[in-house]
């Protein structure tokens, strides 16, 4: 009797072990599908486009890629229009990231104080970030419309038509795109800064009060260094995004007027998918952008590590 009752659970256990896989097998089962998809969609194109960047090749021509060495790179770097698109991207990144940093940090300092409805307001300010960039481009186009848009009405309430048409003038078009990007992404910088500010323990400010530090001294010597790592991460993310900026311009200006808002990404898009479909040169340009982003990120990360450790 006792032997029977003991045997039954042991058998059940063995059966269960046969049915179930080991932990390792289970881990592999979950990882492999993702890994295969990643290799097909990310790793393979990455290396294939690197190969294509050294060839003369067009996806619409029925010809095999022809190896031409660094010719694509020299062609791009010697053409002034590309340098102009780099400059446009730089100006855009500098303006929008700079403004986002200042505004985002200031907003975070304001929303750090808890008041009635501060949680609700914080949530509200995050809404622009959640919209699709193309949608944002479309409705800001309406806002900027010189005849019936609210932006020009605010610029000149009596006769909106007399105010500048934001999207028609090269300088104001750049400004218009920057304004939209700042409107959309300041909440992101604010969110990271806010979490950084909230993580500063109160006792540091108590100690500073005892140490007779003025509000400005506390801000400079405690608040800023404590938030700096998160602020820097926000700036890094936004800089990378700004260098890759594409959808917002596409929706708002299409790169115009003229080439005034044509960033590298738009130049790249034109090279790859309109007119000659110059796949080889487009790949080379994509790699140049990648190298620039890696260099900038490295500078940031190095500075970040210096802030954290030493």
């Amino acid at each position: 009797m006792t032997a029977l009752t003991q045997a039954a659970p042991t058998q059940a256990k063995q059966r269960a072990q046969r049915r179930h896989m080991s932990d390792g097998a289970l881990v592999r089962l979950f990882i492999f599908p993702t890994l295969i998809i990643l290799i097909l969609w990310n790793v393979f194109p990455l290396f294939y486009s690197l190969y294509l960047s050294f060839t003369r090749y067009s996806v619409i021509a029925n010809r095999a890629p022809e190896w031409i060495g660094f010719s694509n790179y020299t062609a791009i770097l010697s053409r002034p229009t590309f340098w102009q698109s780099f400059a446009t991207t730089g100006v855009y990144a500098l303006l929008s990231v700079g403004l986002q940093t200042v505004l985002g940090f200031s907003l975070a300092m304001l929303l750090r104080q808890k008041f009635k409805g501060s949680g609700f307001i914080t949530t509200l300010t995050l809404i622009p970030m959640m919209l699709s960039p193309v949608v944002v481009g479309m409705f800001w186009k309406l806002i900027y419309n010189p005849s019936y848009g609210i932006f020009n009405f605010l610029l000149n309430p009596t006769n909106p038509r007399l105010a500048t048409d934001m999207l028609a003038n090269p300088v104001s078009a750049m400004l218009a795109v920057v304004i939209v990007d700042v409107w959309m992404w300041t909440p992101f910088v604010m969110l990271l800064c806010l979490s950084g500010l909230n993580a500063i323990p109160d006792y540091l400010y108590e100690a500073a009060a005892i140490d007779r530090a003025s509000a400005w001294f506390q801000f400079r010597r405690i608040t800023l260094p404590q938030v700096a790592p998160l602020l820097l991460i926000a700036v890094l993310f936004r800089t990378i995004e700004a260098i890759k900026a594409f959808d917002l311009m596409m929706g708002l200006t299409g790169g115009g007027p003229g080439k005034s808002t044509e960033t590298v990404s738009i130049a790249l898009y034109r090279l790859a998918f309109s007119g000659q479909f110059n796949t080889g040169q487009a790949s080379a340009l994509a790699y140049i952008v990648l190298i620039i982003i890696i260099c900038i990120s490295n500078v940031y990360i190095r500075y970040l590590n210096k802030l954290r450790g030493e």
């Binding site: 006792y203 108590e206 140490d211 010597r221």
Partner: protein, 367 residues
């Protein structure tokens, strides 16, 4: 250097008292310990003195100057926190320099004064480390250095040793005491550790349940507790407290256990019990001595060796609590053995069971 005066200072959170109205004067150069169990209001009192916490009512004077509503930075006091509160992104040296830089002290002088303090506390070798890389003891040394470097008129310390290992605590206790003796600055020190309070203080303020129970020197608090709370709280173990019935100069604890009341106390005891009634007798473990002709009889409940001496736990029977008595290390008392002990008449105290307050010997009052 400063005197600190608290006049009817109180703190309420909602309708609950964190600190009931208290008066206290701390003399220049004095080392005063606020002692009590957690939640008794001692830290709140300290934070009110520092200005980190606003008073509900009452006045705080520093050197006669009313600072009740001044910001902590305007009070010229230094505060040492239980969990150090060092600036984590600054090195030890930068932490110590912080209060000077905040006051725009010239660079040369900052360097000079920081070096002096680091040398005084013997932590020069830690100057370039960040707090996270240091032990609790070293972090607290840096926090002390940061407090010292300013040369404030008073030091407030909130359980500075509370977060340290037992081993470190002894060393740091000695260091803080030495420091106090060498600079002789007014210090208010909060702790829940009565050994620490005894060892370091000039005066102890015993607090419990938001109320000051007694203010006195360590000896006063130990030998003459003002009430039953202080009697139980101070000392380890606390004072032995036996409830008995008093009549005609003798307290009886059931059966034949009787204790004659010393002559100095008789008038006071007579007055409180109105000639006869319940009375609480208190004595410290070292007030009792085991001897063949002792007036009280008990059985040994347990005995344990405390290194230099043994502690006997004696059962008097008749629902009396276990009594702790100090005995010589050499003698061995088997469990359940019958022993007799007597009490030193100078070290016996009496308490009124209704008010829980200590009685005062009438003879002393007459003096």
């Amino acid at each position: 250097m400063a005197t600190i005066t608290l006049q009817q200072v109180e703190k309420k959170f909602g309708s609950a008292y964190a600190v009931q109205p208290m008066d206290l004067t701390i003399q220049d150069g004095e080392f005063v310990v606020l002692l009590g169990p957690s939640g008794c209001g001692k830290t709140t009192t300290l934070r009110m003195i520092s200005g980190l916490e606003a008073v509900t009512s009452g006045k705080i004077l520093l050197n006669g100057r009313d600072v009740t509503w001044l910001h902590p930075s305007e009070r010229d006091i230094a505060f040492v926190f239980q969990f150090f509160a060092l600036y984590p992104h600054l090195t030890a040296r930068e932490n110590v320099a912080f209060p000077l830089q905040a006051q725009s002290v010239p660079r040369d002088e900052v360097t000079k004064r920081v070096n002096e303090v680091l040398k005084l506390l013997q932590i020069e070798h830690l100057a370039n480390s960040r707090p996270a890389a240091l032990s609790g003891g070293d972090q607290q040394r840096i926090a002390l250095a940061r407090a010292l470097v300013r040369r404030p008129s008073a030091f407030l310390m909130d359980e500075p040793l509370g977060a340290l290992d037992a081993e470190f605590r002894e060393t740091m206790r000695a260091e803080i005491k030495r420091l106090h003796l060498s600079i002789n600055a007014t210090t208010v020190y909060v702790t829940h550790d009565q050994v620490e309070a005894m060892a370091m203080s000039d005066r102890i303020v015993v607090m419990s349940a938001a109320v000051v129970q007694q203010v006195g020197t360590p000896a006063e608090v130990y030998y003459d507790p003002a009430n039953l709370f202080v009697a139980r709280f101070i000392g380890s173990p606390g004072m032995n407290l036996l409830k008995g019935r008093y009549s005609e100069g003798v307290v009886s604890f059931g059966g034949s256990k009787r204790l004659p009341v010393p002559a100095a106390w008789r008038a006071a005891v007579d007055q409180v019990t109105q000639g006869g009634g319940e009375l609480i007798v208190g004595f410290r473990p070292e007030a009792a001595s085991v001897r063949a002709d002792g007036e009280l009889e008990a059985t040994v409940y347990a005995s344990d060796l405390h290194g230099g001496f043994s502690m006997l736990h004696l059962d008097l029977g008749h629902e009396n609590p276990i009594v702790h008595v100090r005995a010589s290390r050499q003698e061995i008392y088997p469990i359940d053995a019958l022993v007799r002990f007597s009490l030193d008449p100078n070290m016996v105290r009496f308490f009124d069971p209704r008010t829980e307050k200590a009685l005062q010997p009438v003879a002393e009052v007459a003096l």
